[in-house]
Each structure stands twice: as C-alpha cells, then as structure tokens.
C-alpha cells in the first residue's frame, strides 16, 4: 500500500500540532517517524488512522484521495493502528480478542478462527496461546495479539505508535522480525518512535518531525548525528554521574514472597543502602513490579520480612511508609499516580495534610506556580493533569515528591519520554542520590540502566537471578540473566 500525506495541518486553537506535513510511504517498506515528545508524531498518526480529524490537507491511499474520519473507515481502506497502550478486552481469552470485530452472525466460528489464529502465530513465530487470558499477558504479548488481529482484518498499512516501549528485548526482536516479514510481503509499516536505535535497525526510510513540521527525510544508511540534529536542533548531553558515598541500609528484604503480576515474587533477599541508584532489569512482569510495590507498602508480602531503616514493617500501613519517606511512583501515571479531573493547583493542595479544616488555596496556587517553573512543566496551575503530555506528567509527579524522601521506588520512570525529558529525569533523581536518598527503578531498557544505575538487580520468573555492581558486569551478561541464563 502506498500512502501519500500532503500538507496536513492540525490546529488546536492557536497551537499547531501539525503544520503542513508532507511525506510518502512506499509499499513494502518500513517507514520510521522520529521526533521528541510533542513533535506532532502521534497527532499525525491519529489523523492517518481516522482517530482524529485533520484541519486541512490530503491523504492519498494508493494514489486516490481518501476522506475518512473514523478508525472503522480507515480499517476498510486497510489502515490499522497499534496504539501505545493496546486496546483489548482483558477479561477475555486471547482467541476471543482475536475474533472481536471479525465475526458476523450468530454462528460460533471458533474452530475456523482458531485455525486462522494459529497459522498466523506460526507464520510470525509468536508465542501466543489461544486459550490464555489476556489480562495475564505482558504488554509485548498483547501487542502481538493486536497485530495479528489487525492483519486478520485485512490491514495493508500498519501504524505502530512507540511499539518498543515497555517490552522486553526478546519481544522486540520477535516484533522486528514480524515487521520485516510484513514489509517483504508488500505491506507498508509506519513506525513512530523517539528511539533512534529502533529506527536504525528497522527502518528503510526515516522522516523526522519537530514542532509540527518535517525537518528531514533520510534513507539507509543513517548518520545518527544528523538525525539527532533534525530531532532536537542541538545534541542533548548525557546526565552527569559522580561518586556517591553510600550510607546505612535503608531497605532490607529477607526471603520475601509476594503475589501479583505474571509471576509474583519468590524468595527475595536483598538490601538497598543510602544514596544508591539501583536499576531493576528483567522481562516485563518478572517480579520487579511486585518488588517495588512491596517495598513501597502498596502491597503486603505473603511471607518473609521487610525492614525499613532497621525496623520491621510487618503490620504497618501505607501511612507509616509515607512517614518514613518511602515513595512509590507507578509506571501508569494517569491511572495510579495522578488525579485526572483535578488541576495542578489541586494536586499541590492535596499534599498539604497539616492541621486546619480549610484548603489554603492561595498557598497551593503559589506552590504550583513555583514548581511548574522549577520543574519546567508545560502547563498552568489551572491545567487539568490529563491534558499534560507524558513527559510533563512525569515532571509533575517528581515535583510532588518531598525533598526529604528516603527511598524512591520508580516503575519505568522514563517510559514514553523523549531523550531530553529522560535525561532531565535522571539528572533530577541523581540530585536525590547526592542527598543520600536511595533510588530504585525498573526499566525495560538495559542501556539506560547501565548508563544511570550504580547497581543492577535482574529478575527472572519472580526471582532475583543477578545482583551486581554496574562496573562488574556488561550488557551481554545481563542480557543472558534476563532470559534466565545467568552464570
């Protein structure tokens, strides 16, 4: 399928999310769309997939002008989009999800679709089980399912929005293989990303967006420096690291078991010291999530002992954890971290839990104003948090943390952020470490972990399989540990 995008504009009030974008996707190619957060990538893709309407411009599919404005109409033309967060029905089985939208009439066609599903799974070497429950799948597996469903619906032009965010290295490999196969079969693939590396390994052509316009379009082989310059204008610096003296033990776990996630957590023994920056590696859902929630007091262990600052936490509630300066920041910011519907000022007002019956609105609005400036949040005190971009939501969350926090537990803190925002987050967290705060974070990006952490803990199947200082390991050793081949 050939897709021509001609002079697309999308204006929101005075803001121009897309300001005259023109590009061509050739059949049988993988076309990368690069750009930092807010460059207009997602907007363009949502227009292309019929999810939002363009202000002006033309879209040509296979040479003829197509005017469509719903995802269903786009699907009829053969354009399908894989969203950043998979849109599926978690309570159903994999097969039921696959069939959703495909079946007609009242006849039960399960056998037919089972065959179709299994042949597709084989074709792409995926690892999906038709009878598994979708809620038990990792993000990567849900992605695979969604891709198969789109293909079965007759998608010829597949759009993927940040598909490598939050999935494991193995799943990424398998995804890339599948995409290459699709392209070789004559389908067009549009890959939206802010990860240069993904584009380099996968894309035949890359188009870079910045502030709503195309800043350049290049073919293989790439000059990484040139692309970065198109993305940012100037090259971003890497965060600085300097030696930190570790203090006493902040958190210690002894033979801790906990439930939740795909695997739960089994027999976990480890300790974290003041000022340490610890990265948790592992396939999505291998126990890191449970570890962070147990340490943060969000969940209770089923067995074992957890000590905070030398004190057993058994029987303490969340409030006690908070008083000890333990903070957990979840990966899904809008679902578990912020209050959609409340504005930034209200979030700061919530923080004031001192005495007094009345909210000090004036004070809260002052704090909000100051923090917005200091943390460079793109918004006003009256902005509702759901209107902020992912990067700005993360900045807001960080700005809500107390300076005196003793232990920060962060789940994928840079998920969905562009390089610059991510660097800013690390720089900020590093300042915490200098103040003797311990920072524990999970990440699906090993390079990132090796870049910022002092120590790496690898989880596999709910257990800690490796716990090493960063200087004493390398990426190959960690990669093997992640897939359960430690030693």
């Amino acid at each position: 399928m050939r897709i021509d995008i001609r002079d697309i504009h999308k204006h929101y009030g005075s803001t121009r999310a897309n300001n005259g974008i023109t590009l061509t996707v050739k059949p049988g190619t993988i076309h990368g769309i690069l750009g930092e957060n807010g460059a207009g990538k997602s907007t363009l893709m949502k227009i292309l997939s019929g999810y939002i309407r363009k202000t002006s411009g033309k879209i040509l599919v296979n040479g003829s002008v197509c005017d469509y404005h719903t995802p269903a109409q786009a699907a009829k033309l053969g354009i399908g989009m894989l969203y950043q967060e998979p849109l599926d029905f978690p309570p159903l089985t994999v097969l039921d999800n696959f069939m959703a939208g495909q079946t007609r009439g009242i006849k039960n066609q399960k056998d037919f679709f089972r065959k179709k599903f299994e042949s597709l799974v084989d074709h792409f070497n995926f690892t999906l089980n038709a009878d598994g429950a979708v809620e038990k799948l990792t993000i990567g597996e849900r992605q695979q399912l969604e891709i198969l469903r789109l293909l079965a619906l007759g998608t010829e032009g597949l759009i993927l929005d940040e598909p490598t965010t939050g999935i494991s290295r193995e799943q990424k490999e398998s995804l890339f293989q599948a995409l290459k196969k699709l392209a070789s079969e004559g389908k067009s693939v549009l890959l939206v990303s802010h990860k240069l590396q993904d584009a380099e390994t996968l894309c035949d052509t890359v188009t870079v967006l910045r502030e709503g316009v195309v800043t350049g379009s290049v073919d293989q082989p790439y000059d990484a420096g040139a692309i970065l310059e198109m993305m940012f204008g100037v090259l971003p610096g890497t965060p600085s690291r300097s030696a930190v003296e570790y203090g006493e033990t902040v958190l210690s776990m002894k033979q801790v078991y906990g439930s939740g996630g795909r695997t739960g957590l089994s027999n976990c023994t480890t300790s974290i010291r003041q000022g340490e920056m610890v990265g948790l590696a592992g396939l999505g859902g291998s126990g890191q999530e449970v570890f962070l929630r147990l340490a943060g007091g969000i969940k209770k262990p089923s067995m074992g002992s957890i000590e905070l600052l030398g004190e057993e936490v058994q029987g303490k509630n969340l409030h006690a954890f908070k008083k000890d300066g333990v903070v957990f920041l979840p990966a899904s910011r809008l679902e578990e971290g912020l209050m959609p519907g409340l504005n930034i000022t209200e979030h700061f007002a919530l923080q004031d839990q001192g005495d007094g019956l009345f909210v000090k609105w004036h004070e809260a609005s002052g704090t909000a104003q100051a923090k917005i400036k200091k943390f460079r949040v793109m918004g006003t005190p009256e902005s509702a948090v759901e209107s902020l971009s992912g990067g700005n939501q993360q900045r807001l969350l960080l700005s809500l943390l107390s300076k005196d926090s003793k232990l920060l537990l962060l789940e994928q803190p840079t998920r969905g952020l562009d390089v610059e925002s991510a660097n800013w987050v690390w720089w900020h967290l590093h300042k915490y470490c200098l103040r003797k705060t311990s920072v524990v974070f999970s990440s699906s990006d090993l390079d990132e972990i090796l870049m910022v952490a002092d120590r790496v803990i690898v989880f596999f199947d709910g257990r800690i399989v490796k716990d090493v200082k960063k200087d004493e390991t390398d990426i190959d050793e960690l990669t093997r540990a992640i897939v359960g081949k430690a030693q």
């Binding site: 969000i298 969340l318 679902e335």
Partner: protein, 357 residues
C-alpha cells in the same frame, strides 16, 4: 485568572443551553404521551402549575417537599463526589425519622419541648448517619457494592418502620397504616399558619446548602473526596485512605438524610407513618444528577421537582389523569440529562487534548 473566569463563563453558557434543550425535548415527549392518552396537554400543564404555585397554601406544600429533597441532595453531593452511589439514602431518611420519633416519645407530656426537639434532631442525624455507615462498612470492609448494600438496607428500614407502627409504637387500642399516635402540639415545629410551612425546616435546608457548598469548595475534606472520587488508585500517592473518606462521605449523606427524616416527623406529619420518606431519597438522586452535581443548581432543580410532585396531585381530580405524570416528566428529564452528559463526554474525547502525545 482571566482565563479560568472565561472558561467558567462558557461552561455556564453551555450548561444553560443544554438545560433548555433538555427541557424542550422532555416537554415534547410528555406532550406526546398526553396526546396519546387523549388528554389535553396544555390543560394538564396548567393544572400542574396552578396546583403548585397557584396559592400561598400550595407554595407552602411545595416548599415542604423541597426541604427534604434539598437536604437529601446536599447529602448525595458528598457521596457522588467520592464516586459512591448512595442509593441507601431512602433508608437513611427512614432511620432519621425513627430515631427522631424515638426521642420525641419521651416528651409526649409536652414539657420542655425545645430540648426534646433539639435532642430529636440530633438523634435523627445520628440515625441516618449510622444507617449510612452500615452501607459504608459493607462497602469498605465487606466488599459489597454500595448500591446493593443500600437497597437492602432500605428494605430493612421500611420493615422496621412497619414493625414499630404495628407493634411497639402502635396507637393505644388500634394499629393502623395511618401511623403512630399524633405528637402533642408542643412538639410540632413552629409553622406559618397560612402556608402550613415550618420555617425551622426551611432555615435548616438553606444552612445545609451553604455548609455543603463551603465543605466541597473550601475544606480539605471536600478536596480529598474529589481526589479519591477522580482516581481511587492514586490515593496512595497523597497518603489518603479511601476507606476513611468513603465513610466520612457516608456520614455526611446519612446525617443530612436523617435530618430530612426528622423534619418529616416533626414538621410535616407530626407522627411516624409508613411512607415517611415519600421516595424523596430516590428523587434526590435524580435531582443531583440533573443538576450536574452542582450544589447551587440542585436546590433549583429540587424546587422544580417539588412543583411537579405537588402540582400533579390534582390531575386525577381535574382531568382524570393519573398523578404519576410527574414521575414521567421527572424520569424523562433525568434520562435526557444523562444522554446530554454522554454526548458532552463524547464530544470531549473526539476533540482529543492536544498535549496527549
């Protein structure tokens, strides 16, 4: 500041526009039904109008309905704020009435009526709050949805009233559906004679509106209710315990409902009757939804509903129409308002906030 004033202004305009559209749709619908029933629509509307605002006496009746409706609406604003569907408010009104009657029965000889009335109101508030706490505990500790817990408790409360009227509190010699023994005049709330309206009740309802507005807008409790209601899963970030605040919201809702029950006993019926709550709790749910959960709009909607209720009483006499026409109008209004709300939500998602990359 300027910007937020502006958005407030447009929000108000949009709301008014939607309200007018809703009213037009609902009255066309009701008119259609009246025509199908072979009744003259204009005459029916005129009767409702005359029956509710046609005389001081009628207006007094309307306000007497408005008082419990407003009190219940105020209570529901707290529970809706934290996303609880306190359908048990009906039973909380009944419990308030029971507790009030319980205290007043000690003062039947008419001595120190002021003290007994005050104690009775406090008891009524406590009764409603306790009944609400039952539903709250079933929700927070037992994991039972508040709608089922509330509905169940409504039936229990109704059964208790019937048992009291036909059992322990029956009138000397006879037990009848007309209720318990009439209270002595000293224990009636003072009222304006030509309107049959108890001023104390009116004052209490107005105070309830002011207190609720203040609580929701300016106090920490109000903010916490809103926060937890908007995202239960993020409460941990701000060290808020959702259970605690759910129970607090239930106490407020039950307290206001209990007060409404107390006023029904002391100010309107002067005894405990089986239908003491008169479905005002259920009706208040509709009032609050129709007013878009707004503390200033709900009294107005409550007044309109009260007019419909009182005005439709004389429909059977004048036009041989059933008085349930008011129910048809109220139900259609709420459905239309919910449709309007759903449309607004849809328009919002179609517009897509631009930052959402």
């Amino acid at each position: 500041m300027n910007i937020s004033d502006n958005t407030k202004h447009t929000a108000f305009l949009r709301y008014s526009r939607e309200l007018i559209l809703t009213l037009v749709v609902v009255f066309s619908f009701t008119t259609l039904i009246l025509l199908l029933a072979g009744a003259p629509p204009l005459a029916a509307y005129y009767q409702i109008f005359k029956g509710s605002l046609g005389s001081w006496m009628k207006l007094g009746q309307v306000i007497s309905v408005w008082i419990p409706l407003t009190l219940c609406s105020c209570g529901l604003l707290y529970t809706f704020r934290i996303n609880l569907w306190n359908i048990g408010i009906e039973g909380q009104v009944m419990m308030g009435a029971i507790f009030t009657t319980f205290v007043l029965r000690f003062g039947m000889d008419g001595h120190m009526p002021g003290m007994y009335l005050c104690a009775a109101f406090v008891a009524g508030i406590a009764g409603g709050a306790i009944w609400a706490l039952f539903a709250g505990y079933l929700k927070t500790k037992g994991g039972i949805h508040e709608i089922f817990a509330g509905l169940g408790l409504n039936f229990v409360a109704q059964a208790i009233i019937l048992w009291l009227i036909f059992g322990p509190w029956k009138r000397p010699g006879i037990a009848s559906m007309s209720g318990t023994e009439l209270l002595p005049r000293e224990l009636w709330l003072p009222y304006v004679s030509y309107m049959r309206l108890s001023v104390v009740g009116l004052v209490l309802a107005v105070i309830a509106i002011a207190v609720t507005a203040l609580m929701l807008r300016y106090t920490k409790i109000g903010l916490y209710l809103k926060a937890i209601g908007s995202n239960l899963n993020a409460a941990h970030m701000f060290d808020l315990n959702p259970r605690t605040y759910m129970l607090i919201a239930m106490i407020f809702a039950g307290g206001f409902a209990g007060l409404a029950g107390g006023i029904q006993v002391t100010g309107v019926y002067h005894r405990l009757i089986p239908a003491i709550s008169s479905n005002y709790g259920y009706l208040a749910l509709l009032v609050v939804m129709l007013s878009n959960y707004n503390v200033w709009i709900s009294p107005a909607v409550a007044f309109f509903f009260a007019c419909l209720n009182v005005g439709s009483i004389q429909l059977p006499m004048m036009l041989q129409l059933d008085s349930s026409l008011s129910g048809v109008i109220q139900g259609a209004l709420v459905l239309a308002a919910l449709v309007m709300h759903a449309w607004r939500m849809r328009a919002k998602t179609l517009k897509e906030p631009f930052y959402n990359e």
